[in-house]
C-alpha cells in the first residue's frame, strides 16, 4: 500500500510518500509561493517522480499543518500533534517528549506508543517561536543560521530580560550600543527562547527522551540552548523537517487495517518503545 502525507506549514509544504517497504520519496520541501493547494500539488508531483510512481498509485492521502484544510484532494486531515508523535516515534522509538519548532509556531507533545498524550502549543505569541529569532537576528545583521553558529562562540553570559519579541528587539539594539559582543547577544537570544520552550516542556509533563523536529532543529544554537536548559541530550532525526509529513503518511497507512500487521516495520517499533518506557 502506498500512502502520502502532506504537511502544510507556515513557510514550507513537506511531502512524504510511504510504501510497505519504507519511505519512497525522501524529502520533498516546497516553498510556499502560491496557495496551499497548488504548492501541495507541485510537491506531490515532484515526490511521485522521485518515488518513481504515478499519482494513482497513492491510495490514501492525509494532510496536516496549519494549511491542511485547503488540501481538497486529501482523504483526511490529522492534527499536527498526532502526526508529530507518530512520525517521531517511528524514527526515534525512545522519544517521550518531542518539540516541534517552526517559523510561526512551537508545539511540545508528550507521546506514548506513537500517540500524543498531551500537547502544549504556541502560535499566538512570537516570543516562543522561530519568529523571535528572525526579529533578534535583524539588528545583528545576521540570518538565523549564522546567529546559531555565532552563539556557540559566546564567552560572556548575558541575558535578555524581555519576553516579548518586540521589546527584545529594542533590548538587543541597546545591547549592541553598549558594546556587548554579537556572539554573547546571540547566545542570550537562544537562551531566552529556550527558557520559553522549557516552560512548555514542563507544562506538557517532561518525559525522556527528549526529541526535536521542525525547521529550527537545524539551528545548532537553538538545540544547544534547549539541551542546556533541559539538562539532557536532544535526539534529532536525520530529516527533522518532514517528521510531520511522515506521521501523516503513517496515519494514512494505518487506515488500511490489513496492512497494519506488517507495515513498514513501524508497529513492532512502536510496541518496543512502549515497553521500554514502562
Amino acid at each position: 500500500m502506498i500512502t502520502a502525507g502532506i504537511d502544510v506549514g507556515a513557510e514550507n509544504t513537506k511531502i512524504i510518500i510511504l510504501s510497505d517497504s519504507g519511505i519512497l520519496s525522501d524529502t520533498v520541501v516546497c516553498l510556499g509561493r502560491g496557495d496551499a493547494q497548488s504548492n501541495a500539488l507541485r510537491g506531490l508531483g515532484k515526490a511521485t517522480q522521485v518515488a518513481d510512481i504515478v499519482r494513482s498509485d497513492i491510495e490514501y492521502v492525509v494532510a496536516t499543518g496549519i494549511g491542511s484544510k485547503y488540501i481538497s484532494f486529501a482523504d483526511e486531515q490529522a492534527t499536527e500533534s498526532s502526526c508529530c508523535a507518530r512520525g517521531v516515534t517511528w524514527l526515534l522509538p525512545s522519544t517521550g517528549t518531542v518539540i516541534d519548532m517552526g517559523a510561526d509556531k512551537c508545539l511540545v507533545v508528550k507521546c506514548k506508543h506513537g500517540r500524543p498524550l498531551n500537547t502544549v502549543r504556541n502560535d499566538r505569541c512570537a516570543a516562543g517561536t522561530g519568529r523571535f529569532l528572525e526579529i533578534a537576528a535583524k539588528p545583528l545583521g545576521l540570518d538565523v543560521g549564522e546567529m546559531g553558529q555565532l552563539a556557540l562562540k559566546s564567552r560572556e553570559d548575558v541575558d535578555i530580560e524581555s519576553t516579548c519579541a518586540v521589546f527584545a528587539e529594542s533590548e538587543i539594539i541597546s545591547m549592541i550600543h553598549s558594546k556587548h559582543r554579537p556572539e554573547d547577544i546571540s547566545w542570550a537570544v537562544f537562551k531566552g527562547l529556550a527558557r520559553r520552550v522549557y516552560t512548555m516542556i514542563l507544562k506538557v509533563g517532561f518525559e525522556r527522551d527528549l526529541a526535536m523536529v521542525g525547521g529550527l532543529t537545524k539551528n545548532v544554537g537553538m538545540v544547544k540552548a534547549i539541551e542546556e536548559q533541559a539538562g539532557c541530550h536532544i535526539l534529532i532525526p536525520e530529516e527533522p523537517i518532514v517528521v510531520g509529513a511522515l506521521g501523516a503518511a503513517l496515519i494514512a497507512a494505518e487506515k488500511n487495517k490489513a496492512s497494519f500487521e506488517t507495515p513498514i516495520g513501524s508497529s513492532g517499533k512502536l510496541d518496543d518503545s512502549g515497553a521500554s518506557q514502562q
Binding site: C125, A126, A127, A165, V166
Partner: protein, 264 residues
C-alpha cells in the same frame, strides 16, 4: 521654591520645572541609548525653556523606566505613584488613570488624595502598548500622529486583526494590504484590537469615574474615542499628556523639599 521632576521613559525623557505649585516649563525628548545623557539633556532643555538656572533648583525627583540613572535627582519614586499624583493634581475628581506609553500600559486606581489604591500593568507584551500601534503605523507607512484620525474614518466595514501578538499582527496587516483593503479600515481593526486589550487591563482595577488618560497614546484620538465609547464615559486628558508623570515627580519633589525644610 523651584523643584523639578524627570520622567525617563523607554522612548522619551520628560523634564518639568515647577515653582510654588505652578508649572514653569517642560521638555520632551527622545531617549537615546544613554539614559543618563537623555535625562541630562531633557533637564537642560526644560531649564532653558523656563529660564531657570540649575542652581535654583531645590529638589529633583526622578521616575520612569530609567529613573535610577538620573545623576542629579535626590530621590526616585515609581511611575505608578507619580502618574497618580500628577493626574490627581491636574483633575482632582480623577479616580482611575490609564497611562499608556511606548513600552508599557498601566491602569491605576487612586483615592481622593491621589494615593494609589490598586494598579494593573502590562510591560511584558507589546500587544497592549503603544508599540503595537507604532508597528502597525510603520507597516502601513504612516506617521504615528496620522493613525488616530484615520482609524476613525472607516471606508468599508471594520476589519478584524485576529493575532494578538504585535509581530503576528504585522503579518495580518500585510495580508490585508495585499488583499487591497483600505488603509483606514485596517487601522480601525488594529485600533479596535488594542482598545480591547486596554479595556481588559482597566477592568482589572474597576474603572471609577473620572478617568484620566495620559502618556503618548492619549494623543491618539482613535484610541481615546473608542475607549470612551466602550466604557461609556468621557476621559480627561491633560493639555500635554506625556508630562503627567513628570508633574507627579515634581510634586513629590515639592513635598519632600518642604519636609526637609521643616526638619531644619
Amino acid at each position: 521654591m523651584i523643584v523639578t521632576g524627570v520622567d525617563v521613559g523607554s522612548l522619551s525623557a520628560k523634564a518639568l520645572i515647577m515653582e510654588d505649585g505652578t508649572i514653569r516649563g517642560w521638555s520632551i525628548i527622545f531617549t537615546g541609548t544613554d539614559s543618563v545623557e537623555s535625562a541630562n539633556s531633557a533637564m537642560r532643555l526644560a531649564l532653558e525653556e523656563s529660564n531657570v538656572s540649575p542652581s535654583d533648583v531645590q529638589y529633583t525627583v526622578a521616575t520612569g523606566y530609567g529613573r535610577v540613572n538620573v545623576p542629579f535627582a535626590q530621590a526616585t519614586v515609581s511611575e505608578i505613584s507619580c502618574h497618580s499624583k500628577g493626574s490627581h493634581w491636574l483633575f482632582p475628581e480623577v479616580r482611575t488613570i490609564l497611562d499608556m506609553g511606548g513600552q508599557d500600559c498601566k491602569a491605576i486606581r487612586c483615592d481622593e488624595n491621589g494615593r494609589v489604591i490598586d494598579f494593573a500593568m502590562n510591560d511584558k507584551c507589546a500587544a497592549g502598548t503603544g508599540r503595537y500601534l507604532e508597528r502597525a503605523a510603520a507597516t502601513l507607512r504612516l506617521g504615528l500622529e496620522q493613525i488616530g484620525p484615520l482609524s476613525l474614518e472607516r471606508v468599508e466595514g471594520p476589519l478584524s486583526i485576529s493575532s494578538t501578538c504585535a509581530v503576528f499582527a504585522q503579518n495580518d496587516i500585510v495580508k490585508l494590504m495585499r488583499e487591497g483593503k483600505q488603509v483606514n479600515d485596517i487601522l480601525a481593526g488594529a485600533t479596535d484590537a488594542i482598545v480591547d486589550r486596554i479595556s481588559a487591563l482597566l477592568e482589572r482595577v474597576d474603572v471609577e469615574e473620572d478617568l484620566c488618560i495620559s502618556g503618548g497614546v492619549a494623543k491618539n484620538i482613535g484610541v481615546v474615542k473608542r475607549l470612551e465609547e466602550k466604557l461609556g464615559l468621557k476621559a480627561r486628558i491633560a493639555p500635554e499628556p506625556q508630562v503627567v508623570g513628570a508633574i507627579g515627580a515634581a510634586l513629590f519633589a515639592r513635598d519632600r523639599a518642604a519636609k526637609a525644610a521643616a526638619r531644619i
